[in-house]
Point group: C2
Chain length 240, copies 2
């Protein structure tokens, strides 16, 4: 009897993986992970040097999407088909093997594995191991606590409409904004409109090699990798 075990890898530094994740990754005989076609994959890079020599790997490559719009029906259909196919393959493997599925950060926090998780229910044994979220790694990279006392933290996606971003940025004390990338100019405008731009930090590759932390207002928007999170720290109640 096998199982699918999805393992949260944390923000990038292999030492920040949980004891349980570390043990499962080192012992894995069957290892699956998402990656973009033609890339090595962030999750796979995090576990480099930890794997058994005889591990069998299953890179799950996202369908190529450069020619179709992200929110089109065609893209959604291709993505659904991709998840269906891997659900079939993993279900078959899980009859006899324990398959470790890698996931950056925490699998239940905007993780791609969730699309397999919902489809695998009732078909085989599925377990999920929590991880430190990427945003947690990023606020540690700034060296400043993210929330104090009664602070409200809102986690926002850069893909949201600008007016929604502005409203949430005004209404919360602390902010973590993910999926920045090509949305960064919009995120920057929204922060300025909400009066929060001067307190915003851009963190690239938090806890990973090449980590960079800078005030967002000073950042050249043409030079921003996908793996960047914008943070505004809370300043809540504390004993003086």
């Amino acid at each position: 009897m096998g199982a699918i075990i999805c393992v949260g890898l944390g923000p990038g530094d292999p030492e920040l993986m949980s004891v349980k994740a570390d043990r499962l990754v080192r012992g894995a005989t069957h290892l699956a992970y998402f990656r973009k076609a033609g890339r090595s994959g962030v999750a796979r890079r995090i576990v480099a040097g930890m794997l058994r020599e005889d591990v069998i790997e299953y890179p799950m490559e996202y369908p190529v999407t450069t020619e179709i719009a992200f929110d089109s029906k065609d893209y959604t259909a291709r993505l659904a088909q991709f998840y269906e196919e891997w659900t079939e393959r993993l279900t078959a493997l899980a009859q006899d093997h324990e398959v470790i599925v890698l996931c950056e950060g925490d699998p239940f926090f905007y993780g791609s594995f969730m699309h397999l998780h919902s489809r695998l229910q009732g078909r085989c044994t599925v377990e999920v191991v929590p991880g430190i979220t990427g945003m947690t790694g990023c606020w540690h990279a700034t060296g400043i606590p993210i929330t104090w006392g009664d602070d409200v933290l809102s986690v926002l996606m850069g893909t949201l409409p600008e007016e929604q971003l502005v409203r949430h940025m005004r209404d919360a004390h602390a902010l973590a904004i993910m999926k920045t990338g090509r949305n960064l100019p919009k995120v920057k405008r929204a922060l300025a409109a909400a009066g929060r731009l001067q307190d915003a930090w851009l963190v690239e590759r938090g806890t990973m090699p090449g980590q960079r932390v800078a005030p967002l207002a000073d950042t050249d928007l043409d030079d921003c990798p996908y793996f960047a999170i914008v943070l505004v720290h809370g300043q809540g109640r504390r004993p003086e």
Copy 2:
């Protein structure tokens, strides 16, 4: 040359501690942790069975506060004095020793250590190790992903005024409400007013012995421990 190293312990299951935290805790010769007077302390319980026999322990007991109001000037002054005193003691210890300070969850996410962290700056070497947040452990306890696609997650404290709770509960897709305890009746009313009560879960002691997960609407409010988090899962965009 010593140092103060604050270690995030994660949500409670010792296996969910990071590899780095596990190593530091097992090697600790000087160990400090917060606890309520007369209690063993949650952080200390998590590391039971992991410590060196010759470890020297420094329980940092919060000043007794049952007779004075939480938001009074007197309470704040006593708390500030408590943090000042431990800043002095830890600074002195850190001249010669590496002192490990335990912290449940993630130290930079509403953690008590932040009040020492700000005071210790420039006085000795201070390092902070991230941990899996308590709320992450709780959403894993429900077995349901907390956020998908463009979902907005808002983290709220049960100590906030009721009308602020209602506004944030209406405005976000996913919710994590901490510091519930005696605020739970207010939190429940606010969720009902925002139309979210039927989707809310109460998670007690997430990932710890005695874990309990139940729909909040069905929960007896007289029977709620301090260590409970209320969650509403997001239902965001996903390929069908």
